[in-house]
Symmetry: D3
Subunit: 67 residues, 6 copies
């Protein structure tokens, strides 16, 4: 009965991509720990770019520094 929370920046992930994330992450727990997929929950949080920080700055600024 695992619970998986995935936080990504909100940049237009499609419904098909989210479905692939849900399927793939659930499969990892089935394969590695033999968990039951029927009770494995995945919640995806899409976070606004200005609400995501790394390197002490908003992620949009940070990306410019690592180009």
């Amino acid at each position: 009965m695992p619970y998986i929370n995935v936080k990504i920046t909100k940049e237009g992930a499609t419904a098909a991509q989210k479905e692939a994330i849900i399927q793939g992450m659930t499969q990892v727990l089935v394969d590695v720990l033999g968990k039951n997929p029927a009770t494995t929950v995945v919640v995806i949080d899409e976070v606004e770019m200005e609400n995501w920080g790394i390197g002490g700055m908003p992620v949009s600024e940070f990306r410019k520094t690592i180009k």
Copy 2:
């Protein structure tokens, strides 16, 4: 000073229903552990249907399988 986080699919919960959730969950901790409601925080996250997975698929697909 407990903290309670409730994640539900976004399906039109009303303000009155949210108020009942906040009140009910706080009361559980008052009754069971004698916690002080004045410092008990409840945060409700409403998650878009396509961002919630169970059974390795989006919850909307999963519900069709259990009908």
Copy 3:
């Protein structure tokens, strides 16, 4: 298929108390939103006292100030 996370300070909650929390919080979502208890997950995190802060200080210090 809701997910509920309860964070409390680690102060000796018994197995029976945890069971009452699980039962009570699940019942709130059954009563208010008609959720299915069979797919409602509750996770209780017990946090060491020195890892919990409020009022800008550890909770053990804070409690002395409000006596």
Copy 4:
């Protein structure tokens, strides 16, 4: 490689304020624990007022009681 999650009520925090939060919280971990800012992540969740409870009621009601 720390991860910091900040939950606040959604009340119009500006991009500049969020940037200051990201910078300030990251700096705390640099100063206190010598963490590397380049791998320190900050995620800010802005929560709708009616989804935030304290004192067993929505925060908007609670604020009236403490005026």
Copy 5:
């Protein structure tokens, strides 16, 4: 720069299994969204059995009901 949190019951997952979970979940985000693994964080929380509830009861009780 995604963040993935995996909550499982504490039942003796080995270091090798945790490594496989970290690798597998990171790979899902690389494959589906093209994320950079170097800034993808995975945190695994192992939760004591008596702190995990489902079906309104501790998970150990719940498992007996579905045998």
Copy 6:
């Protein structure tokens, strides 16, 4: 009434360091958003090294690659 969750690897942070984190993070929200420290909660989670992944591997392995 903000809530701040800090996740760090478990590497011997002292009570004094945790107190400094609690104080510093709370002060950031006081300074930037004018929040009331008395209702600002900070929870620090110390995560076992083998439960923390980055770069698709346990953090202990990852650190060797960036030396």
